[in-house]
Amino acid sequence: MKQQQALLDIKDLHVHFKVYGGYARVLNDVNLSVFTGEKIGLVGESGCGKTTTVKSIMRVLPKQAVIAGGEILFEGQDVLRMKDKALNVLRGQKLSMIFQDPVAALNPVFTVGKQICDAIRFSGITKGNNKSEIRKLAVKALKECSMPDPYRILDNYPFQLSGGMRQRVCIAMALATASSLMIADEPTTNLDVTIQDQVLHLIRDLVEKNNTALILITHSLGVAREMTDRIYVMYAGNIVEMASTEEIFEAPYHPYTKGLLNSIPKLTGDGIMAGIDGYLPDYLNPPLGCRFQSRCSYASEYCGKGKPPFIEVIPEHYVACYRYSESWQKNKLGV
């Protein structure tokens, strides 16, 4: 990989949840890095641990969660061992987040203006409490999100805005604090395609303009393709494949990535897709070895032996699958 220091570096992250019946081993050795100004996609289906990963970065995991190992380095500092004060600075000035549901992300009893201004004030990017200055920043942020009539919007309550507008307000809020990493958790899942198109364009233009790094979390490979430079594919708490966006779509290696691509209905109308049989493994008793083996058509006896290594199949394209390591296997087992 690149030699420069990563902006965000997640190393061997394990997160478990205490649930009925024991511990759900949700995140199992997640490694992920983001460099300054880079747009990466974290793609996977619901329940694969995308949101848990993000919540670990923000340190907002629910109380049943246990971080069982690993570290999250942001600009070299370990987020997981940060003091509250440093964490607030980090959340306020370095990281910003866009949530899936703009309805839940905005407080319905305050005006949009108050919420944006509060976000700016708490972040501490303005010296002191200069109201007019904060308000100016808020208006600037709304303008950048191509909101018509930002002064009127500031005095509106969230319910007076449409879904697309609310998401724009959330983006403006994330933007106003001028962070170096933006995390967008399924930002367009609740929006219609035509509005999704607009919002995605907006996010892309803004992060490119401000040289902000972006982690886009999505279940839609199509969205990831339009937005990102590099994609991590996640399955059942593991990163199973990582490559540049073009590579992933042109030559996917992991059977899961292939299956996922195959499941998507295509505009070309080649008929109904096959899908992937079976369901996610039980996180309480995950299978030994590869977590995809029960649904994988290529599964062999190797797959149950241990966690598949993350192999660089071709430069900059990593896959966690035994299939691409046969020589490695032979050497190791001495067959």
Partner: protein
């Protein structure tokens, strides 16, 4: 099952429908009153279409286009404001409480979210036995056995009857909901976004099951969705709804090769795709702009004029009507 329509031939003569139509919707309107007196949410505003025997119709639209309301009016969950609905030649423009039991058996709906369409407090066996008991499909003592058979038909194990919805995954729940709709052997099913809350890898399985069942039992589907790519692969005909109106309707293949309405083009060009071959199929980029106006204040003239890049004077003053542009391909646009 498909042949029974012969008896109802006369009924169709009266409404000007064709023999092969299982469902005919004529000038249907559904207005919901708002808090202000005299103003209405015009959720569905004068739409007409028909569904033929053994056909899958895709009703596509964004949220707020009135596609779900259309489904609910067809099912009798809402009273219609104006117009009429005919099912196998029989006028069914009435609320569900006035509908006959045989109609309830023949026309079924599968809802969007299987999490809320299955009662969380009842196990799958009880859920599936309700339609079997109400319609006396099988004798009382064979109900649970038959429920197991239904589950097998949708690819689940018969033992699932002992489980509760909460211990099933989203996909399995939706399969149970489909099995429940199937229990009475319907002629037609209304599918209200049955896979939009599911993952794509699961969606594929559900869609395959649905299509297999449709072929096996010769059913008609009215498939409500916002997913054009999905419709491309399973629908025989597609209708696009915008703000309570159908703006374009045509056979699927035509539709994608030769989209006419600017809104359809905008929709198609906004879809995120994964293949280069798909990219090539998209119409030249129409930049998506604006948002769907409120159905309380519908713009004068063409409903789409506020977002349409080609709008001109006529579009702002008079509303286009549906015209047959090519055989079986209807469009409501002044420019076509």
């Amino acid at each position: 099952m498909g042949k029974q329509y012969m008896e109802t031939k006369n009924g169709y003569g009266q409404v000007g429908g064709k023999e092969e139509d299982v469902l005919i919707v004529r000038n249907m309107k559904k207005y919901f009153p708002t808090k202000t007196k005299g103003s209405f949410v015009k959720a569905v505003d004068d739409i007409s279409f028909s569904v033929r025997f053994g056909e899958v119709i895709g009703l596509v639209g964004e949220s707020g286009s009135g596609k779900s309301t259309t489904a609910y009016v067809v099912m009798g969950m809402h009273n219609l404001t104006a117009g009429s609905v005919f099912f196998r030649g029989q006028d069914i423009s009435m609320p569900v409480s006035k509908r006959s039991l045989s109609l309830k058996r023949d026309l079924k709906i599968v809802f969007q979210d299987p999490g809320t369409s299955l009662n969380p407090q009842r196990n799958i066996g009880n859920i599936l036995s309700l339609p079997l008991k109400v319609h006396k499909i099988v004798p009382q003592n064979e109900v649970f056995e038959h429920a197991g058979k239904l589950l097998q038909m949708v690819g689940l194990t018969p033992e699932t009857i002992y489980k509760y919805p909460r211990s099933l995954g989203g996909g399995e729940r939706q399969l149970v909901a489909i099995a429940r709709a199937l229990a009475t052997n319907p002629t037609m099913m209304v599918l209200d976004e049955p896979t939009s809350s599911l993952d794509v890898s699961i969606q594929a399985k559900i869609i395959n099951t649905l299509i297999d069942l449709q072929k096996q039992f010769d059913m008609s589907y009215l498939f409500i969705t916002h997913d054009m790519s999905l419709m491309r692969n399973i629908a025989d005909r597609i209708a696009i709804m915008y703000l309570g109106r159908i703006v374009e309707m045509s056979p699927t293949k035509d539709f994608f090769l030769n989209p006419q309405h600017p809104y359809t083009k905008m929709l198609l060009s906004s879809i995120p795709v994964v293949l280069d071959a798909e990219k090539a199929l998209k119409p030249e980029k129409i930049e998506s702009r604006g948002e769907i106006p409120s159905p309380v204040n519908i713009p004068a003239g063409c409903r789409f004029n506020s977002r349409c890049p080609y709008a001109y004077d006529l579009c702002r003053s008079s509303e286009p009507i549906m015209r047959e542009f090519l055989p079986d391909h209807e469009v409501a646009c002044h420019l076509c």
